[in-house]
């Protein structure tokens, strides 16, 4: 038996860093040792080859084990280093694996958190920006907080937030006195509540915050409606016996924390031109608005305010009242009683009417100048109180002031003959003075040419007409002019105009210094004497004055 035997391999699996000759060196060295030992046995002890090898192997021990140990001693550094590297690599791989798992789990957790956050933000964003907002529950009770539900109450929600749509929404309470506004975007809202039973209105504010639904509980007044009729009385005489009166009605009823007001705090519906009966001075009818309406107002203590202002034909009464013109108001406090017809009588004093005239003149001077073309002269001072077509003989009592109230009637006859003759009676006997006539638009629409106008019932001192040619003052001979107050004036139309301006700087009879600043001017177009084709246009009575506003 020799060593190593054929196909013997005492070594472990080859290592990648193992020197190529390591195994051969080990085997050769040990084999040489064993061979020498066996040869020694055969040479010195006379043993057979087999016995010698057996003896050598017996003395050597296990050569495979020695070979493995030598290989291990040579390779253990590299093997250990390899194991350490492998271990480190494995450990690193495990660490990386765990770190990766940790990162993935964290990412998943973060993604889930971000998804929740995004969902929350989206929900919050949606709550704050989209029209879909919060709920606003409103409950209305009658009389007191635990009173019966107020059904049919109309609630209007209007946004106050600047830059947003006004967002008016109106709902009515159900049989339970409840309503729900949804969705209500975040913002501040004005709530207006109309109670049809009491005819009163409540106005309050409400703020809606994002993410917070709110509820309001309101108490409506336990008040019934009362029928009321408004009667006005004004001191006569008054021009045309017609006057524009703006009527207000106000009142407050506190119910709990709520302050309710009549719905018609400023009801134009009862304002308008009142036709006063001359004999009585009373009027129950706003002529412009039709028959007198029976007002339905809450049966509480109310304050009526009548604001008399004079009418301007160019302005509708409603608009005049909405202008909130200054006036000397007549105030009447009345407690209305439900179940019966209440009559609210308001008496206008002469002073209030006179103030109305003054305010009207000032207002007209400031704002009611007719539109004019660029080639027309600027409007002149002067005030037209009223302009009325003269269809027939007009009798005018020109007693606008106490001074003129007792003035004897005066009759003015227009030039012409037959059916064309017009007669007007104007108050006379007093000193009149007139400064300006502004608007002649109502006199006529078109004057072809050479039409003359007659201005009478006054003493004309000087005048100028734009764009009409100034003509000399002359007295129409042969025409009755009973008052003998001044010469008539003829204007000649030089070109076609629809509107002309006439400046009459003085129109005085008697003592100008002591004269009241009021008067009557009769204007009428007249036909050209040599041109029978021209026909009369409707003459007009202009009530004019130069009375300056006392408090303006």
């Amino acid at each position: 038996m020799r060593w190593p035997e054929e196909n013997t391999n005492p070594f472990p699996s080859p290592h990648r860093q193992e020197p190529a000759v390591l195994r051969a060196d080990i085997l050769d060295e040990l084999a040489d040792h064993l061979a020498l030992s066996a040869e020694h046995e055969m040479e010195f002890n006379g043993q057979t080859r087999t016995a010698a090898w057996a003896r050598a192997l017996d003395r050597f021990g296990d050569p495979d084990a020695v070979a493995r140990r030598l290989w291990w001693d040579a390779m253990k550094g590299k093997v250990m280093r390899d194991w350490i590297q492998t271990g480190i690599a494995g450990l690193s791989a495990v660490v990386v694996l765990f770190v990766g798992i940790y990162v993935i789990m964290n990412m998943q957790s973060m993604q889930a958190t971000q998804a929740k956050l995004a969902e929350t933000l989206q929900r919050m964003n949606g709550q704050s920006q989209t029209p879909a907002g919060e709920t606003l529950d409103i409950e209305v009770r009658r009389g007191k907080a635990d009173g019966p539900p107020a059904a049919g109450v109309r609630v209007e929600l209007r946004a106050r937030t600047v830059g947003k749509d006004n967002w008016p929404v109106s709902l009515e309470t159900d049989a339970q006195g409840r309503m729900k506004f949804f969705p209500v975007p975040e913002g501040t809202y004005a709530i207006t509540i109309h109670d049809p039973q009491s005819g009163m209105t409540l106005r309050t504010d409400h703020t809606v915050f994002a993410g917070v639904g709110t509820a309001r509980k309101l108490v409506a007044p336990d008040v019934a409606l009362a029928r009321a009729q408004l009667v006005l009385k004004q001191p006569l005489p008054f021009p045309n016996n017609r006057m524009l009166v703006c009527v207000k009605c106000s009142g407050t009823l506190s119910v709990g924390d709520c302050r309710w007001n009549p719905e018609a705090e400023f009801f134009v519906g009862n304002a308008g031109m009142y036709e006063f009966v001359q004999e009585t001075g009373y009027s129950q009818c706003a002529t412009i608005k039709g028959p007198a309406t029976m007002l339905l107002l809450p049966a509480i203590a109310l304050t009526f305010t009548a604001c008399p202002i004079l009418r301007n034909p160019k302005y509708p009464p409603d608009q005049l009242c909405m202008e909130n013109m200054p006036c000397q108001e007549a105030i009447q406090s009345v407690t209305l009683t439900a179940g019966q017809e209440n009559v609210v009588t308001m008496e206008l004093t002469a002073n209030q009417v006179q103030k109305a005239e003054q305010y009207m003149k000032a207002y007209a001077a400031k704002r009611w100048m007719p539109e004019r073309n660029a080639d027309e002269p600027p409007p002149l001072d002067g005030y037209v109180w009223a302009a009325h077509p003269i269809e027939d003989t007009v009798r005018v009592r020109c007693g606008m002031t106490s001074t003129m109230a007792d003035a004897a009637p005066a009759t003015v006859t227009f030039p012409g003959s037959g059916e064309d003759a017009k007669e007007c009676t104007a108050g006379g006997g007093m000193d009149w003075r007139m400064l300006t006539i502004v608007d002649m638009a109502n006199l006529t629409k078109t004057y072809p040419s050479e039409c003359r106008f007659l201005i009478s019932s006054g003493a004309l001192i000087s005048h100028s007409v734009f764009p009409w040619k100034r003509t000399a003052c002359s007295r129409e001979s042969g025409q009755p002019f009973p008052l003998e107050v001044g010469p008539a004036l003829h204007f000649e139309v030089l070109r076609d105009r629809e509107v002309a301006y006439v400046d009459i700087t003085a129109f005085v009879r008697g003592d100008a210094a002591a004269a009241p600043c009021a008067g009557v001017l009769l204007l009428a177009p007249c036909p050209q004497p040599d041109n029978g084709e021209l026909t009369w246009r409707s003459p007009h009575l202009l009530v004019v004055s130069d009375t300056p506003p006392e408090d303006l």
């Binding site: 060196d25 040990l30 040489d32 020498l36 020694h40 003395r59 020695v66 001693d73």
Partner: protein, 112 residues
């Protein structure tokens, strides 16, 4: 012999053998056995790991010589580092043996 006593002196014996002339493994065992008058019988299981370790540590260097058909023989010889180590180990061993002999008696008696 006590193997623990041999383990502590194996490197010194091997270095001493290969100091004068290069020697291969079997030759070293026989030389040690002869010089020690058959007292130190080196086991191959201990000799070759020691030779390889001393070679890796730089005390020995080796080379191969063809010893016949398909047979190689590895010779070891001491390096300068190995000689220095041998000198150091010899001095230490002399101090140790002197001390031991001083306690036990004369070296001749001990060897006898």
């Amino acid at each position: 012999m006590d193997s623990q006593l041999l383990a502590g002196t194996l490197e010194m014996l091997v270095l001493q053998v290969v100091t004068s002339n290069p020697a291969y493994g079997y030759q070293i065992t026989q030389e040690v056995l002869q010089r020690s008058k058959c007292y130190f019988e080196l086991k191959e299981g201990s000799l070759y790991p020691a030779l390889h370790r001393m070679e890796r540590e730089g005390f020995l260097e080796s080379y191969w010589v063809e010893a016949g058909p398909k047979r190689r023989r590895k010779y070891y010889r001491a390096t300068p580092q190995g000689l220095a180590a041998l000198e150091k180990k010899q001095a230490e061993w002399h101090r140790f043996s002197t001390a031991v002999n001083g306690v036990l008696g004369t070296p001749a008696d001990a060897l006898a």
